[in-house]
């Protein structure tokens, strides 16, 4: 499932750069497959919970798997969304900021892959790196956004294409957010340490969690 969504992101970028609408359409269609995988994993986890009564690290693994598939499915949705925007853009002449998209996509895809690698190899350091790279992706998105604004101000005929490129950049930024979620969950699974919703001092934001 993870491999498939990574592939969808890569394909959607190739479809954009090579202006391959056929490929973009295939990315949109792949989403069905990812959705089906989500249902299958959900079902398998439910059966394991009901029949094996897992505890400790096994319990964390299963509950984590349940949550991971939700994020992966959302990443699949975002890749399909990129495919849809690519289909629209391929009807128009190219716009220069397309060039930044593959680089952003590489970062986002790398984060997904590393988060899943961390899950498989139980590697906290690897998961930690994913979380740190999210800032990089956010900064990249801000840059792209500024460039696009300039384009739109220069020539209103750029607006249609620029808003689509902006959407793609936003989708990629969201992929990074989901990868960060995955990495945080992996850290929880391995060490039982919850790193979600921390303040800068490392304290849990809400006291509810300590009760």
């Amino acid at each position: 499932m993870g491999a498939r969504v990574e592939e969808m992101i890569a394909d959607s970028m190739r479809a954009l750069v090579e202006r391959d609408s056929e490929l973009a359409r295939r990315v949109v269609d792949s989403d069905q497959f990812v959705n089906r995988l989500e249902l299958e994993v959900d079902d398998a986890c439910m059966r394991i919970l009901a029949r094996r009564q897992p505890v400790a690290s096994d319990l964390r693994f299963i509950t984590l798997a349940l949550k991971i598939v939700t994020d992966l499915e959302r990443i699949g949705d975002l890749a399909a969304n990129i495919g849809e925007r690519v289909l629209e853009l391929n009807e128009e002449p190219p716009l220069k900021p397309y060039l930044d998209m593959p680089r952003m996509a590489d970062t986002a895809r790398g984060m997904v892959r590393n988060a899943l690698d961390a899950f498989v190899s139980r590697d906290v350091a690897c998961a930690q790196m994913v979380i740190e790279r999210d800032g990089e992706l956010d900064a990249h998105y801000a840059d792209v956004f500024r460039v696009l604004l300039t384009y739109m101000m220069e020539d209103p005929r750029n607006i249609y294409r620029a808003t689509r490129v902006q959407s793609i950049a936003k989708y990629l930024e969201r992929v990074g957010d989901h990868a960060t979620n995955l990495a945080e969950m992996v850290i929880f699974m391995i060490g039982g340490k919850d790193v979600r919703h921390l303040t800068s001092s490392g304290a849990v934001v809400s006291a509810v969690r300590d009760e």
Partner: protein, 256 residues
């Protein structure tokens, strides 16, 4: 999830059981599918043990007890007057809750006791002992101690020995009545693993009041309450989406 309907090896059909005038099983219809483990769950006194005893013609050994309806073994009614009860009991083995090896016999003699007591002289006694103990996972740890008294074994080993003893008679169905109720969790896991291995070659039925155990070991579950079959389903389904509210209440502990 799609369940492939396999052939029932042993099937209770409108089975009723009585102790004197009291009816303790009410028109049960439960199949035991070949190559699978069927668990019978339900609270104490719901008729699980009686059901297993009816399936192997043991119920009638209690005075005043009788059976109505049919139990089909490969399609043949074991309550047909022409059928020999002891032949049925050889084909359908029963394992008791508390390990009950013959205390006066050695390990080896216990394995062979079913044959000896049936008056069968085994030509290849040594290989029967070895293969039966192998099948229950006891051979490697016990092969040098075959002459020690069976009661010198640990409780779980005694239970494994009892299963080996029944295997010597080459049964087709094995019924286990609370086989882990006197065992600790590690020993329980050992017996559960064993059931998992055995189901490839035998048809297994287990009565248990532990629904967690039923969830772990079985492929199908029958939930029996006050002698009535409330629900029969494949295990995945029963433990995730039971269809009867009484099953739901029992599983979630909201009973009564």
């Amino acid at each position: 999830m799609v369940v492939v309907e396999a052939e029932a090896k042993l099937e209770a059909v409108d089975l009723e059981a009585f102790y004197g005038a009291e009816r303790v099983l009410k028109r049960l219809r439960i199949p035991l599918v070949q190559g699978a483990v069927t668990a019978v769950i339900g609270p104490s006194g719901s008729g699980k043990t009686t059901l297993l005893r009816c399936l192997s013609r043991m119920h009638e050994l209690t005075s005043g007890a009788r059976v109505q309806g049919a139990v089909l073994l490969d399609g043949m009614n074991i309550y047909d007057p022409a059928v020999d009860a002891s032949a049925v009991r050889r084909r359908v083995a029963t394992i008791a809750a508390k390990p009950n090896p013959f205390p006066s016999m050695s390990v080896r003699e216990n394995v062979l006791s079913g044959l000896t007591l049936s008056g069968i002289r085994a030509q290849d006694a040594e290989s029967i002992v070895e293969s039966c103990l192998h099948e229950v996972g006891l051979w490697d740890q016990i092969k040098d101690r075959l002459r020690i008294p069976a009661t010198a074994l640990s409780t779980v080993e005694q239970q494994q020995l009892c299963i080996a003893r029944s295997l010597a008679l080459r049964p087709e169905v094995i019924l286990l009545d609370e086989p882990c109720s006197v065992l600790d969790p590690m020993a329980t896991a050992r017996i559960e693993d064993l059931m998992h291995d055995l189901r490839e070659r035998y048809t297994l039925g287990i009565a248990t009041h532990s629904m967690q155990q039923a969830a772990r070991v079985s492929d199908h579950v029958a939930f029996v309450l006050s002698g009535e079959l409330i629900e029969y389903s494949d295990t995945d389904r029963l433990f995730t989406r039971p269809s009867d509210v009484r099953t739901e209440d029992y599983l979630t502990g909201r009973f009564g």
